[in-house]
């Protein structure tokens, strides 16, 4: 017994730079990593490359990987066949306004749920939790009937209003506020600070990372939001980017327009990709909430 154990140990321990160790690290560690990364990046790289090609290089079966004469013509064409700059502006406006209001509402609601006394706040919190599970898609038709009836077709407020109530942000912030030390707030209360001051002078500054998470997730969801803007807007001048891209893909005759469509895809995808690259820690944390500590 003891001899076999003794024989096993030297077999398992190898010099760090032995050939076996290196091949093992490469095959077991790097190959799968690189493969997984490529599966993600190649389609996106293909999108960017194609958007820089001339129509002749796209509508051909003699494929060349890289554009021979990189050109921004697809972007120009996209902007002339549909009001693309307007789509971008609309997306920026809707995302900015909706995100600011949603974050504000989430912060004050979560503060109230944790720090302000009220008889039914457990029940209210439960209602918000349940709302988290109601898919927005199911509510699209009744909300359309209501908003259209109020004259909200093709307006910014019509796009923004139904999505403003925020269960996700409220929930995330409430869970975070529960972990804050009560003693800081108590001493502020004794010093005479009212709720409003306690919220913005104490709770807000020490919760910035969680608030950033909520803000980023909200920005990403608003920017990508599709089904609601798709049905509430039919005037090209009021369309957001995803809806405008739909118009572009409907209007242009299929294969001729791939370059233009790729240019459109770049404009809707790349801003989020940049935000994600810079702040991915917060976004991943927010979107995978609830999974950790199982």
């Amino acid at each position: 017994m003891s001899t076999s154990t003794a024989a096993m140990i030297p077999a398992q321990r190898q010099r760090p730079l032995s050939w076996k160790n290196i091949t093992q690290t490469i095959l077991g560690g790097y190959v799968p990593l690189v493969a997984a990364t490529l599966v993600v990046f190649l389609p996106l790289a293909w999108m960017i490359i194609s958007s820089l090609k001339s129509p002749g290089e796209i509508v051909t079966t003699q494929l060349t990987i890289l554009p021979q004469h990189p050109t921004m013509q697809n972007y120009v064409d996209a902007a002339t066949s549909v009001p693309f700059a307007r789509f971008f502006l609309n997306s920026v406006i809707v995302t900015t306004i909706a995100s600011i209001i949603k974050c504000f509402l989430a912060i004050v609601t979560a503060y109230a749920l944790v720090f302000v006394r009220f008889p039914f706040r457990r029940a209210i919190f439960l209602l918000i939790l349940v709302a988290l599970m109601v898919p927005p898609q199911v509510s699209v038709l009744p909300n359309y009937v209501l908003i259209a009836g109020m004259g909200g077709l093709n307006t910014y407020w019509g796009i923004i209003l139904p999505g403003l109530g925020t269960a996700f942000g409220t929930f995330l912030l409430r869970q975070h506020f529960m972990t804050l030390p009560v003693s800081i707030l108590e001493s502020a209360e004794i010093d005479g600070a009212n709720h409003w001051r306690r919220l913005w002078r104490i709770v807000f500054p020490i919760s910035v990372p969680t608030i950033a998470t909520v803000a980023l997730v909200t920005i990403v969801t608003e920017w990508n939001d599709y089904i609601w803007p798709l049905i509430i807007v039919d005037n090209p001048n009021m369309m957001t980017l995803p809806v405008g891209l739909t118009l572009l893909s409907n209007s242009d005759s299929g294969s001729q327009a791939w370059g233009i469509l790729m240019a459109g895809a770049v404009i809707v995808i790349v801003p989020i990709l940049i935000i994600f690259a810079a702040l991915q820690r917060y976004i991943v944390a927010g979107l995978t909430q609830g999974s950790v500590t199982g």
Binding site: V40, V284, Q289
Partner: protein, 352 residues
Amino acid sequence: MSWLDASSAHAATEAMDEGDDGGPDQGARPGPGAGRRGRMKPPKSGAARNGSRRRTAGKYWTPRAKREAWVFLALALPNIVLIAFFTYRPLFANMYYSTLDWTLGSSVATAVGWGNYVEFFTSSDASTVLGITAIFTIATVGGAMFLGLLVAIALNAKVKGQGFARSAVFAPYVLSGVGVGLVWLFIFDPVYGVLSWILRGFGASSPQWINDPKLALVMVIIVYVWKNLGYCAVIYLAGLQSMPKDLMEAASLDGAGSFRRFMSITLPLLSPTTFFILITSLLSSLQAFDIIRIMTRTGNGTNTLIFESYLQAFSTYNRAGYSAAISVVLFVLLLLLTGAQLRFVERKVHYS
């Protein structure tokens, strides 16, 4: 889902209530920091607290409590009203609409009772739509979870660039489904797509991804798995990284190989993670819309419940009542899943 296990959070709320109201129960009032400690204890440890609570119950609406209540309403009411109006009201409105024969935009509607449901379930629509929904949901959830686990295992290797690869794999999950759908539509294009070019290189001709209904469904599933795989991978990775090291070491000292260790230790210990991913993925797959809509505009073998409901109301037919009935069917399905989650999450899958 840790956040559904509200008991610890509940204890904290009570502890804070106690600290908040001062007044008659000064003696029982916990000192600074007690709220924090209270959170760690199970709720029933506060027998003394319950006693003091009963004593103050009679004086609930002191002027101070009233002022607090007003502050609460001022802060929370706007959000609550919005949620009630645009999330809860539509649920009931849908149930009402589903009993109507109603063309969207028309001012007349006839009540038809269960008519829309009867029509849906007796026509061929039900088997088609439910079948497609089942195939799409099972394939996307199964595919993303299986590949996600494989990627998580790869990411778990301690090599340089692991953090970068983790972010890269997650990236598609945050991208616009419309943009992603268009990119893949171009890749799948049977004539000009890069996939058909590769296939031609092998002497094969490209399948008709877009025109053939069966292949259109496969195409949409592939793209959806590509977009959601990173979500599963990142959560599985967190699960893998919280594996108890001592158990693994003990098993390998006992001579268990790495495959054996994975099957007998890692996989069972991952079951809470698996269950969490399973439920959240099922819910989001059942709601998948943007990729399906942009890749198959009018539905071609890709009519899942959510897409069929959209097409009925907003595409050609404007059949609001029928669409609402399909939405209700979808909602009931989601409700059953959520119920199953709440029931099983505590019982089935805890090892610690």
